[in-house]
Symmetry: C3
Subunit: 136 residues, 3 copies
Amino acid sequence: MIENRSYSRYRLEYKQRNGVTMTIKRIQTGPRMSQAVIHNKTVYLAGQVAPGASVAIQTREILTAIDALLAEAKTDKSRLLMATIWLTDMGTFAEMNGVWQSWVVPGETPARATVMSSHLASAEFKIEIAVVAAQP
Amino acid sequence: MIENRSYSRYRLEYKQRNGVTMTIKRIQTGPRMSQAVIHNKTVYLAGQVAPGASVAIQTREILTAIDALLAEAKTDKSRLLMATIWLTDMGTFAEMNGVWQSWVVPGETPARATVMSSHLASAEFKIEIAVVAAQP
Amino acid sequence: MIENRSYSRYRLEYKQRNGVTMTIKRIQTGPRMSQAVIHNKTVYLAGQVAPGASVAIQTREILTAIDALLAEAKTDKSRLLMATIWLTDMGTFAEMNGVWQSWVVPGETPARATVMSSHLASAEFKIEIAVVAAQP
Protein backbone atom coordinates (compact mmCIF):
# COMPACT_ATOMS: atom_id res chain seq x y z
CA MET A 1 0.00 0.00 0.00
CA ILE A 2 2.80 2.36 0.90
CA GLU A 3 4.66 1.24 -2.19
CA ASN A 4 1.58 1.93 -4.28
CA ARG A 5 1.09 5.37 -2.83
CA SER A 6 4.76 6.11 -3.33
CA TYR A 7 4.54 4.84 -6.88
CA SER A 8 1.53 7.03 -7.68
CA ARG A 9 3.30 10.05 -6.34
CA TYR A 10 6.35 9.07 -8.32
CA ARG A 11 4.35 8.64 -11.51
CA LEU A 12 2.85 12.09 -11.00
CA GLU A 13 6.30 13.60 -10.54
CA TYR A 14 7.45 11.86 -13.69
CA LYS A 15 4.52 13.26 -15.65
CA GLN A 16 5.10 16.74 -14.28
CA ARG A 17 8.79 16.56 -15.08
CA ASN A 18 7.84 15.24 -18.46
CA GLY A 19 5.47 18.14 -18.96
CA VAL A 20 8.27 20.55 -18.09
CA THR A 21 10.74 18.80 -20.35
CA MET A 22 8.56 18.87 -23.43
CA THR A 23 7.19 22.40 -22.96
CA ILE A 24 8.77 25.41 -24.67
CA LYS A 25 8.86 28.56 -22.58
CA ARG A 26 9.58 31.90 -24.25
CA ILE A 27 10.71 35.11 -22.53
CA GLN A 28 10.27 38.65 -23.89
CA THR A 29 8.70 37.42 -27.10
CA GLY A 30 8.55 39.98 -29.89
CA PRO A 31 7.45 39.75 -33.54
CA ARG A 32 10.97 38.87 -34.70
CA MET A 33 12.48 36.94 -31.85
CA SER A 34 12.27 36.03 -28.20
CA GLN A 35 15.02 37.15 -25.88
CA ALA A 36 15.18 33.67 -24.36
CA VAL A 37 13.66 30.27 -25.12
CA ILE A 38 13.70 27.32 -22.70
CA HIS A 39 13.31 23.67 -23.68
CA ASN A 40 14.45 20.52 -21.94
CA LYS A 41 16.14 22.53 -19.14
CA THR A 42 18.27 24.27 -21.80
CA VAL A 43 18.03 28.06 -22.16
CA TYR A 44 18.85 29.70 -25.50
CA LEU A 45 19.41 33.46 -25.30
CA ALA A 46 19.13 35.78 -28.30
CA GLY A 47 22.34 37.50 -29.35
CA GLN A 48 22.72 40.54 -27.11
CA VAL A 49 24.04 43.95 -28.17
CA ALA A 50 24.25 47.24 -26.29
CA PRO A 51 25.27 50.82 -27.08
CA GLY A 52 28.39 52.25 -25.44
CA ALA A 53 31.55 54.15 -26.30
CA SER A 54 33.91 51.18 -26.09
CA VAL A 55 33.95 47.39 -26.37
CA ALA A 56 34.54 47.19 -22.62
CA ILE A 57 31.44 49.28 -21.90
CA GLN A 58 29.30 47.40 -24.41
CA THR A 59 30.50 44.06 -23.03
CA ARG A 60 29.60 45.11 -19.49
CA GLU A 61 26.10 46.19 -20.62
CA ILE A 62 25.58 42.97 -22.55
CA LEU A 63 26.66 40.80 -19.61
CA THR A 64 24.28 42.70 -17.32
CA ALA A 65 21.46 42.04 -19.80
CA ILE A 66 22.44 38.36 -19.94
CA ASP A 67 22.36 38.18 -16.13
CA ALA A 68 18.82 39.59 -16.17
CA LEU A 69 17.61 37.19 -18.87
CA LEU A 70 19.18 34.20 -17.10
CA ALA A 71 17.40 35.26 -13.90
CA GLU A 72 14.08 35.42 -15.78
CA ALA A 73 14.87 31.92 -17.03
CA LYS A 74 15.45 30.81 -13.40
CA THR A 75 19.14 30.19 -13.81
CA ASP A 76 22.41 32.15 -13.64
CA LYS A 77 25.88 32.54 -15.12
CA SER A 78 27.27 29.63 -13.08
CA ARG A 79 25.30 27.33 -15.40
CA LEU A 80 26.49 28.60 -18.80
CA LEU A 81 27.07 25.86 -21.36
CA MET A 82 28.21 27.68 -24.51
CA ALA A 83 28.88 31.27 -25.54
CA THR A 84 29.36 32.66 -29.04
CA ILE A 85 30.99 36.09 -29.22
CA TRP A 86 31.13 38.19 -32.38
CA LEU A 87 33.50 41.16 -32.52
CA THR A 88 33.48 43.74 -35.32
CA ASP A 89 37.23 44.18 -34.81
CA MET A 90 39.39 41.29 -33.61
CA GLY A 91 41.76 43.94 -32.22
CA THR A 92 39.31 44.30 -29.32
CA PHE A 93 39.70 40.64 -28.27
CA ALA A 94 41.77 41.43 -25.16
CA GLU A 95 39.49 44.31 -24.14
CA MET A 96 36.46 42.01 -24.33
CA ASN A 97 38.28 39.24 -22.47
CA GLY A 98 39.12 41.51 -19.55
CA VAL A 99 35.45 42.20 -18.89
CA TRP A 100 34.43 38.62 -19.68
CA GLN A 101 36.93 37.06 -17.26
CA SER A 102 35.84 39.26 -14.39
CA TRP A 103 32.21 38.28 -15.04
CA VAL A 104 32.31 34.50 -15.47
CA VAL A 105 32.25 32.27 -12.38
CA PRO A 106 35.70 30.72 -11.82
CA GLY A 107 35.54 26.98 -12.40
CA GLU A 108 32.18 27.28 -14.17
CA THR A 109 33.20 28.79 -17.52
CA PRO A 110 31.27 27.78 -20.66
CA ALA A 111 32.60 26.45 -23.93
CA ARG A 112 33.15 29.52 -26.15
CA ALA A 113 33.83 30.58 -29.71
CA THR A 114 34.92 34.14 -30.52
CA VAL A 115 34.74 35.15 -34.17
CA MET A 116 34.36 38.25 -36.32
CA SER A 117 31.30 39.90 -37.82
CA SER A 118 32.53 43.04 -39.55
CA HIS A 119 29.13 44.66 -38.99
CA LEU A 120 26.35 43.98 -36.50
CA ALA A 121 22.66 44.96 -36.61
CA SER A 122 23.53 48.62 -36.07
CA ALA A 123 26.81 50.41 -36.87
CA GLU A 124 27.23 51.44 -33.22
CA PHE A 125 27.51 47.83 -32.01
CA LYS A 126 31.04 46.47 -31.61
CA ILE A 127 30.21 43.14 -29.97
CA GLU A 128 27.35 40.65 -29.80
CA ILE A 129 27.11 37.71 -27.38
CA ALA A 130 24.76 34.72 -27.50
CA VAL A 131 24.77 32.10 -24.75
CA VAL A 132 23.19 28.73 -24.03
CA ALA A 133 22.69 27.89 -20.35
CA ALA A 134 21.15 25.13 -18.24
CA GLN A 135 18.35 25.47 -15.72
CA PRO A 136 19.15 23.98 -12.30
CA MET B 1 -2.94 -5.97 -9.56
CA ILE B 2 -4.19 -3.04 -11.60
CA GLU B 3 -1.43 -0.96 -10.10
CA ASN B 4 1.12 -3.56 -11.11
CA ARG B 5 -0.16 -3.75 -14.64
CA SER B 6 -0.19 0.01 -14.86
CA TYR B 7 3.35 0.10 -13.51
CA SER B 8 4.57 -2.42 -16.07
CA ARG B 9 3.05 -0.41 -18.86
CA TYR B 10 4.55 2.72 -17.39
CA ARG B 11 7.98 1.13 -17.16
CA LEU B 12 7.73 0.10 -20.80
CA GLU B 13 6.79 3.65 -21.81
CA TYR B 14 9.73 4.95 -19.83
CA LYS B 15 12.12 2.59 -21.59
CA GLN B 16 10.69 3.51 -24.98
CA ARG B 17 10.94 7.19 -24.24
CA ASN B 18 14.41 6.56 -22.99
CA GLY B 19 15.26 4.77 -26.21
CA VAL B 20 13.98 7.72 -28.20
CA THR B 21 15.86 10.23 -26.08
CA MET B 22 19.24 8.60 -26.48
CA THR B 23 18.95 7.81 -30.19
CA ILE B 24 20.35 10.12 -32.86
CA LYS B 25 18.24 10.42 -36.01
CA ARG B 26 19.75 11.97 -39.13
CA ILE B 27 17.84 13.35 -42.12
CA GLN B 28 19.21 13.72 -45.68
CA THR B 29 22.63 12.49 -44.67
CA GLY B 30 25.39 13.22 -47.19
CA PRO B 31 29.17 12.68 -47.09
CA ARG B 32 29.77 16.14 -45.62
CA MET B 33 26.75 16.84 -43.48
CA SER B 34 23.19 15.89 -42.67
CA GLN B 35 20.45 18.41 -43.36
CA ALA B 36 18.96 17.71 -39.92
CA VAL B 37 19.98 15.79 -36.81
CA ILE B 38 17.64 14.94 -33.93
CA HIS B 39 18.70 14.10 -30.40
CA ASN B 40 16.85 14.38 -27.13
CA LYS B 41 13.80 15.94 -28.85
CA THR B 42 16.06 18.72 -30.17
CA VAL B 43 16.41 19.19 -33.94
CA TYR B 44 19.57 20.79 -35.37
CA LEU B 45 19.24 21.95 -38.99
CA ALA B 46 22.21 22.54 -41.27
CA GLY B 47 22.72 26.13 -42.39
CA GLN B 48 20.41 26.66 -45.36
CA VAL B 49 21.22 28.70 -48.46
CA ALA B 50 19.29 29.17 -51.71
CA PRO B 51 19.86 30.89 -55.05
CA GLY B 52 17.73 33.92 -55.94
CA ALA B 53 18.09 37.45 -57.28
CA SER B 54 17.53 39.21 -53.95
CA VAL B 55 17.86 38.65 -50.22
CA ALA B 56 14.06 38.61 -49.97
CA ILE B 57 13.79 35.83 -52.57
CA GLN B 58 16.65 33.82 -51.05
CA THR B 59 15.13 34.21 -47.57
CA ARG B 60 11.75 32.94 -48.79
CA GLU B 61 13.40 29.92 -50.45
CA ILE B 62 15.43 29.16 -47.34
CA LEU B 63 12.39 29.37 -45.06
CA THR B 64 10.47 27.02 -47.37
CA ALA B 65 13.37 24.56 -47.16
CA ILE B 66 13.40 24.90 -43.37
CA ASP B 67 9.64 24.20 -43.26
CA ALA B 68 10.22 21.00 -45.26
CA LEU B 69 13.10 19.84 -43.04
CA LEU B 70 11.16 20.57 -39.86
CA ALA B 71 8.25 18.52 -41.27
CA GLU B 72 10.63 15.62 -41.96
CA ALA B 73 11.78 15.98 -38.36
CA LYS B 74 8.12 15.79 -37.21
CA THR B 75 7.97 19.35 -35.97
CA ASP B 76 7.26 22.83 -37.35
CA LYS B 77 8.19 26.51 -37.13
CA SER B 78 5.99 27.05 -34.04
CA ARG B 79 8.62 25.11 -32.08
CA LEU B 80 11.77 26.99 -33.07
CA LEU B 81 14.25 27.49 -30.24
CA MET B 82 17.15 29.40 -31.79
CA ALA B 83 18.03 30.84 -35.19
CA THR B 84 21.39 32.08 -36.43
CA ILE B 85 21.27 34.28 -39.54
CA TRP B 86 24.34 35.26 -41.53
CA LEU B 87 24.09 38.09 -44.06
CA THR B 88 26.82 38.95 -46.56
CA ASP B 89 25.73 42.60 -46.35
CA MET B 90 24.24 44.01 -43.15
CA GLY B 91 22.45 46.56 -45.37
CA THR B 92 19.97 43.79 -46.20
CA PHE B 93 18.91 43.37 -42.56
CA ALA B 94 15.51 45.04 -43.03
CA GLU B 95 14.83 43.15 -46.26
CA MET B 96 15.51 39.83 -44.51
CA ASN B 97 13.43 40.86 -41.50
CA GLY B 98 10.38 41.61 -43.64
CA VAL B 99 10.30 38.06 -44.95
CA TRP B 100 11.28 36.58 -41.59
CA GLN B 101 8.53 38.34 -39.66
CA SER B 102 5.81 37.23 -42.05
CA TRP B 103 7.04 33.63 -41.70
CA VAL B 104 7.50 33.15 -37.94
CA VAL B 105 4.49 32.24 -35.82
CA PRO B 106 3.43 35.25 -33.70
CA GLY B 107 4.06 34.54 -30.03
CA GLU B 108 6.34 31.60 -30.87
CA THR B 109 9.47 33.37 -32.13
CA PRO B 110 12.87 31.80 -31.41
CA ALA B 111 15.91 33.38 -29.84
CA ARG B 112 17.98 34.76 -32.73
CA ALA B 113 21.38 36.18 -33.61
CA THR B 114 21.97 37.98 -36.92
CA VAL B 115 25.59 38.54 -37.90
CA MET B 116 27.73 39.02 -40.98
CA SER B 117 29.67 36.57 -43.10
CA SER B 118 31.13 38.57 -45.98
CA HIS B 119 31.11 35.44 -48.16
CA LEU B 120 29.09 32.24 -47.99
CA ALA B 121 29.77 28.84 -49.58
CA SER B 122 29.03 30.23 -53.04
CA ALA B 123 29.30 33.84 -54.24
CA GLU B 124 25.62 33.87 -55.23
CA PHE B 125 24.41 33.33 -51.66
CA LYS B 126 23.49 36.47 -49.71
CA ILE B 127 22.04 34.84 -46.61
CA GLU B 128 22.36 31.60 -44.64
CA ILE B 129 20.04 30.50 -41.82
CA ALA B 130 20.56 27.70 -39.27
CA VAL B 131 17.87 26.85 -36.73
CA VAL B 132 17.44 24.63 -33.69
CA ALA B 133 13.89 23.42 -32.99
CA ALA B 134 12.08 21.12 -30.57
CA GLN B 135 10.03 18.07 -31.43
CA PRO B 136 6.54 18.06 -29.88
CA MET C 1 7.03 -8.59 -4.07
CA ILE C 2 9.20 -9.06 -7.12
CA GLU C 3 7.38 -6.18 -8.75
CA ASN C 4 8.06 -4.00 -5.72
CA ARG C 5 11.73 -4.84 -5.67
CA SER C 6 11.95 -4.22 -9.37
CA TYR C 7 10.15 -0.93 -8.90
CA SER C 8 12.56 0.21 -6.19
CA ARG C 9 15.51 -0.58 -8.39
CA TYR C 10 13.82 1.21 -11.24
CA ARG C 11 13.13 4.28 -9.11
CA LEU C 12 16.78 4.36 -8.10
CA GLU C 13 17.89 4.15 -11.73
CA TYR C 14 15.53 6.95 -12.58
CA LYS C 15 16.95 9.15 -9.85
CA GLN C 16 20.51 8.37 -10.89
CA ARG C 17 19.73 9.10 -14.51
CA ASN C 18 18.03 12.24 -13.35
CA GLY C 19 21.09 13.23 -11.38
CA VAL C 20 23.22 12.73 -14.48
CA THR C 21 20.83 14.65 -16.69
CA MET C 22 20.72 17.75 -14.52
CA THR C 23 24.43 17.90 -13.72
CA ILE C 24 26.84 20.06 -15.71
CA LYS C 25 30.27 18.55 -16.31
CA ARG C 26 33.11 20.76 -17.52
CA ILE C 27 36.33 19.61 -19.17
CA GLN C 28 39.64 21.55 -19.27
CA THR C 29 38.12 24.52 -17.48
CA GLY C 30 40.17 27.72 -17.69
CA PRO C 31 39.49 31.28 -16.50
CA ARG C 32 37.89 32.24 -19.83
CA MET C 33 36.25 29.08 -21.07
CA SER C 34 36.02 25.33 -20.77
CA GLN C 35 37.09 23.21 -23.71
CA ALA C 36 33.93 21.11 -23.33
CA VAL C 37 30.72 21.29 -21.29
CA ILE C 38 28.26 18.40 -20.91
CA HIS C 39 24.61 18.77 -19.95
CA ASN C 40 21.67 16.48 -20.59
CA LYS C 41 23.83 14.05 -22.63
CA THR C 42 24.74 16.95 -24.95
CA VAL C 43 28.41 17.95 -25.30
CA TYR C 44 29.31 21.51 -26.32
CA LEU C 45 32.91 21.95 -27.47
CA ALA C 46 34.69 25.30 -27.50
CA GLY C 47 35.68 26.60 -30.94
CA GLN C 48 38.97 24.90 -31.80
CA VAL C 49 41.89 26.52 -33.61
CA ALA C 50 45.39 25.24 -34.37
CA PRO C 51 48.58 26.61 -35.93
CA GLY C 52 49.76 25.19 -39.26
CA ALA C 53 50.98 26.33 -42.66
CA SER C 54 47.76 25.58 -44.53
CA VAL C 55 44.03 25.22 -43.99
CA ALA C 56 44.38 21.46 -44.58
CA ILE C 57 47.02 21.15 -41.86
CA GLN C 58 45.09 23.35 -39.42
CA THR C 59 41.89 21.39 -40.11
CA ARG C 60 43.64 18.09 -39.41
CA GLU C 61 45.05 19.44 -36.13
CA ILE C 62 41.68 20.79 -35.08
CA LEU C 63 39.89 17.51 -35.84
CA THR C 64 42.51 15.61 -33.83
CA ALA C 65 41.87 17.98 -30.91
CA ILE C 66 38.12 17.47 -31.31
CA ASP C 67 38.61 13.67 -31.24
CA ALA C 68 40.53 13.99 -27.98
CA LEU C 69 37.92 16.26 -26.37
CA LEU C 70 35.06 14.00 -27.47
CA ALA C 71 36.92 11.04 -25.92
CA GLU C 72 37.28 12.97 -22.66
CA ALA C 73 33.53 13.59 -22.87
CA LYS C 74 32.98 9.82 -23.31
CA THR C 75 31.73 10.08 -26.87
CA ASP C 76 33.16 10.21 -30.40
CA LYS C 77 32.74 11.69 -33.87
CA SER C 78 30.05 9.16 -34.81
CA ARG C 79 27.71 11.09 -32.49
CA LEU C 80 28.19 14.63 -33.80
CA LEU C 81 24.99 16.68 -33.91
CA MET C 82 26.04 20.09 -35.27
CA ALA C 83 29.26 21.71 -36.48
CA THR C 84 29.93 25.38 -37.12
CA ILE C 85 32.99 26.12 -39.24
CA TRP C 86 34.47 29.58 -39.67
CA LEU C 87 36.98 30.22 -42.46
CA THR C 88 39.00 33.41 -42.81
CA ASP C 89 38.93 32.96 -46.59
CA MET C 90 35.99 31.24 -48.29
CA GLY C 91 38.44 30.30 -51.06
CA THR C 92 39.67 27.52 -48.75
CA PHE C 93 36.24 25.88 -48.56
CA ALA C 94 37.22 22.91 -50.80
CA GLU C 95 40.54 22.43 -49.00
CA MET C 96 38.75 22.26 -45.64
CA ASN C 97 36.09 19.93 -47.05
CA GLY C 98 38.67 17.42 -48.28
CA VAL C 99 40.01 16.95 -44.76
CA TRP C 100 36.55 17.13 -43.18
CA GLN C 101 35.06 14.44 -45.44
CA SER C 102 37.86 11.99 -44.75
CA TRP C 103 37.36 12.52 -41.01
CA VAL C 104 33.58 12.30 -40.52
CA VAL C 105 31.97 8.87 -40.17
CA PRO C 106 30.02 8.01 -43.34
CA GLY C 107 26.30 7.94 -42.60
CA GLU C 108 26.81 9.78 -39.29
CA THR C 109 27.53 13.32 -40.47
CA PRO C 110 26.31 16.25 -38.36
CA ALA C 111 24.28 19.25 -39.43
CA ARG C 112 26.78 21.93 -40.40
CA ALA C 113 27.11 25.64 -41.19
CA THR C 114 30.27 27.03 -42.81
CA VAL C 115 30.65 30.80 -42.74
CA MET C 116 33.35 33.45 -42.80
CA SER C 117 35.18 35.25 -40.02
CA SER C 118 37.76 37.47 -41.70
CA HIS C 119 39.95 37.24 -38.58
CA LEU C 120 40.14 34.71 -35.78
CA ALA C 121 41.66 35.03 -32.30
CA SER C 122 45.18 35.12 -33.73
CA ALA C 123 46.27 36.15 -37.23
CA GLU C 124 47.83 32.73 -37.87
CA PHE C 125 44.50 30.92 -37.60
CA LYS C 126 42.68 30.24 -40.87
CA ILE C 127 39.86 28.07 -39.55
CA GLU C 128 37.89 27.52 -36.36
CA ILE C 129 35.49 24.63 -35.71
CA ALA C 130 32.93 24.27 -32.90
CA VAL C 131 30.84 21.11 -32.55
CA VAL C 132 27.93 19.84 -30.49
CA ALA C 133 27.81 16.08 -29.91
CA ALA C 134 25.74 13.54 -28.00
CA GLN C 135 26.94 11.16 -25.32
CA PRO C 136 25.94 7.51 -25.92
